[in-house]
Symmetry: C2
Subunit: 330 residues, 2 copies
């Protein structure tokens, strides 16, 4: 298994990317193809005693930043680490590609350089969110602001394949994000997507109301990218605000600090369960080869997890499964 | 000030509605016109020692339930307490109408029996949500699943008028729910709504990302009813899940229980701040006379608050302000 890594993507690149890659080589025995400025990679590795064993380096001097227009990845920034990695993936020089860089650039670059699976209308970003019963996949998390019903059907098919093959869930429950559970709820997009998903080769459980998302009533939550992005960011926002307030109460005075010490093990276990670093980021589903988006804020641990999931993404033959399901849905 | 009350709307009607109404008469000195089955009202009041001083009763024997199709409020259930109250409001027999009954029925009934403000395209439900800096209004909370840009502009104008006149916020900050802060973010609906709101007679602060809603960066958050409903219910869902887990940690063992006792005052104050009963429900904005939707689960305290807000809604001349703003936006 060889994973192609964008060594210059994300807030903590290249140091945390190199650390995470080295840890992944040690833990999973995979090979890594690092894309980025070779001299900088070698210097950062040497300065921080990071072993480059099991890793090759492909020199790519440019960097596409969060400030760049996403389209620049195939225009003025053709020689950036992300574009180079995607070209190598397309050429079959590795089994999967991982980047913590700009989501927009990764979407455009993947679509143009790696191409979509035949028949897939749009690629979607599919983050994994914590829930009361474990976790669930949200698809689309924000790649496609405007969607047609057949795109939502395909999101359900792709998400189901990933959750089964990579996350090990048998017959994943697929739900449609809606304003009520009755089939007549929502607008035209939801009505038609409901009808298509009912006939698709997935375990469709119907509409799911937003109140029930965090409870984990489904394994794959299908939404257009606008709604999905709101779901993703609002979940983070509400959780962050509440944790901030609880923290404030626990730090307010001596009693609070004593209380904090008493419930620390429980709080820590809960925090770990809620920690998205465990899930490493989000697969990009719909490309003809596995592309994995690590969190922009990835530290070494999160990036190592992203590499592990990219290995499973390739090993699990998710893309072959999606291709078969597309045949089944026709 | 005379408030018309639907005595048979909501999960806890008529008992909690009667208690809340009696408390409102005592606290605010308003008069109340109770709509509902007169003999039942008199019996429940007598059985529970609730004074009916300051209240008149209009006999309306039917009840529209959550199971009824909303449209039945003007068809087979014409004699229900809600329809009767709306007709009395339209006839000028009271200054505002409050119901904890079916939201769908209230929307249809208000639109058909009370009518919209001239020029207003759609009525919107405008719940108040807690935020880190106090609270904010979400408009539309779910009345209109599919929206046009000019509807979003009007939601901003109506929300701004209410927050200024009823909640006492000077030049309320109006934000547009979107997937990023740049004006180019979102789909066609958001682009056009952004442009219209920029020229509208409100303090428009631009797009707001979902991560920032709970921080309270704006006083009025404008969204189409589909997105708004997801925001409303997901906020409740995430908060409920997190509180449930924290509660579990605090009840897990003796240490947890001791810790709970130590931080109880802080937790209670925080819970009160998050408690939507304080805000009593949501105004329905766009009708030609004040209509206020109390929570379906309202207890006496929440319903009393709803009556207070309905009084302020009428006193504040919100509808006159909206009419003036509509002139200004042309």
């Amino acid at each position: 298994m060889k994973i192609i890594v964008d060594a210059f993507g994300g807030d903590n690149a290249p140091l945390e990317i190199l650390k995470g890659s080295a840890a992944a080589v040690a833990a999973y025995g995979c090979d890594i193809l690092l894309c980025g400025d070779e001299s900088v990679i070698r210097k950062v590795a040497a300065d921080n005693q990071i072993s480059l064993a099991g890793m090759e380096i492909v020199h790519a001097p440019d960097v596409i930043s969060m400030e760049d227009e996403p389209g620049e990845v195939v225009k003025t920034k053709k020689n950036c680490s992300m574009a180079e990695g995607l070209r190598r993936l397309a050429a079959g020089e590795g089994d999967a590609f991982v980047s913590a860089g700009s989501t927009g650039a990764l979407l455009i670059g993947s679509t143009l350089l790696v191409k979509r699976i035949k028949g897939i209308k749009r690629c979607a970003l599919a983050p994994i969110l914590p829930s009361d019963s474990g976790f669930y996949m949200l698809i689309d998390g924000g790649a496609n602001v405007e969607c047609r019903p057949e795109m939502l059907e395909q999101f359900g098919i792709m998400g189901s394949a990933y959750m089964e093959k990579v996350m090990g869930i048998k017959a994943p429950k697929v739900g449609l994000a809606n304003v009520g559970t009755e089939p007549t709820k929502g607008g035209e997009l939801q009505h038609e997507a409901f009808s298509l998903l009912s006939k698709a080769p997935v375990n469709f459980i119907g509409n799911v109301e937003a109140r029930d998302f965090p409870a984990g009533v489904c394994d794959v939550l299908v939404a257009d990218g606008f709604t999905g992005n709101v779901i993703l960011k609002l979940t983070e926002g509400v959780a962050g605000t509440l944790f901030g307030n609880i923290k404030g109460i626990l730090k307010a005075n001596l009693k609070g600090k004593l209380a904090a010490a008493m419930i620390m093990p429980g709080l820590k276990a809960f925090k770990k369960r809620m920690d998205t670093d465990e899930y490493g980021g989000a697969p990009l589903l719909g490309t003809s080869k596995p592309v994995f988006k690590a969190h922009g804020s990835s530290n070494a641990y999160a990036f190592q997890n992203a590499i592990r999931l990219a290995c499973d993404f390739a090993k699990g033959n998710v893309i072959g499964t999606i291709e078969e399901s597309l045949q089944g849905s026709k």
